[in-house]
């Protein structure tokens, strides 16, 4: 074998190593459906609470969405744990638990009379989780979602209740529904492009 052919084979090995490292790390994209699911859940909870003035609309919907998320992951089988996957999962789980405790406590403590507090805090927390995840994955599209959430948080802090609600609904649409569908399309495309490594 000539030197250039040998070099080509060695370079191919290095490329294979890089490709497999990327492949092994690829976890978050398979969570695209969770963005969509939670986006729908937020809409359900929002309109349920607005129309029926039902105090338990948010807790009930969030618990139902959490159960559906767990069911979805259970159906996916048992993907291997990676440090990155654990970090991303931990970020979202911690955010979810924090929101659940904070808003239930504020609500039952009677301090959520001004809905803008809820919209601002929820948007800021969602922005934080999206930003943390985007930095871990170096994913600009998700960082853009974080910026949308932070913008919604600022609007909720300074604007009227109606403006806060509109900003919150728009952020859900962009960062949960549209971003979720985008992530699912990316995931599907990558699955179909996936190469093979034969002995």
């Amino acid at each position: 074998m000539g030197t250039s052919a040998n070099d080509l084979e060695l370079t191919e090995r290095l490329n294979l190593i890089e490709a497999m490292i990327t492949e092994g790390r690829r976890r978050c994209e398979s969570w695209g459906w969770t963005f969509l699911l939670w986006g729908v859940a937020y809409y359900v909870a929002f309109f349920w609470a607005a129309w029926e003035h039902f105090a338990y609309a948010w807790p009930v919907t969030v618990v139902a969405a959490a159960l559906l998320t767990m069911l979805g992951f259970w159906r996916q089988g048992n993907p291997p744990n990676t440090t990155l996957g654990r970090a991303i999962g931990a970020t979202w789980a911690a955010m979810g638990i924090s929101m659940f405790i904070l808003f239930d406590a504020l609500g039952f403590g009677g301090h959520l009379a001004d809905a803008r507090i809820f919209f601002a805090a929820a948007s800021a927390m969602l922005g934080m989780a999206n930003a943390a995840c985007s930095m871990m994955l170096k994913w600009k599209a998700e960082f853009a979602c974080a910026m949308v959430w932070w913008t919604a948080a600022v609007i909720a802090s300074f604007g009227s209740v109606d403006a806060a609600a509109d900003a919150f609904l728009a952020a859900i649409f962009l960062c949960q529904i549209v971003f979720g569908i985008y992530a699912m399309i990316l995931e599907s495309r990558r699955r179909s492009e996936r190469g093979t490594a034969h002995a």
Partner: protein, 99 residues
């Protein structure tokens, strides 16, 4: 001129190299996950994993989960060291730092 290093033939196999690299990033991996990631056939994948196991580079655990058999593979310290040494040798042979 420094002597060029030899590449470990066990690690050098394309599928074995892919498997070792995949296993570096996870705590443990199921056979089906490795098959999905590499696109290899069951027979080829099983044969290459056996070679890695014989070399002491991966360890295998077989168990039943919800009454279904599950085969889990983990990279050993020897496997990690072998892959690290392989990458170092590869970079030296190519004369550049790629990773």
């Amino acid at each position: 001129m420094p002597e060029l290093p030899d590449l470990n033939p066990v690690v050098h196999g394309k599928l074995r190299l892919a498997l070792l690299t995949l296993l570096t990033g996870v705590d443990e991996a199921e056979f089906t996950w490795l098959r999905e990631k590499t696109g290899a056939t069951d027979g080829n994948l099983g044969a290459q994993l056996m070679k890695l196991e014989e070399a002491g580079y991966v360890s295998v655990e077989k168990k039943f989960v919800k009454r279904k058999p599950q085969t889990l593979y983990r990279m050993t310290d020897a496997g990690r060291a072998a892959l690290t040494e392989y990458v170092r040798a590869l970079k030296q042979l190519l004369g550049e730092a790629v990773i």
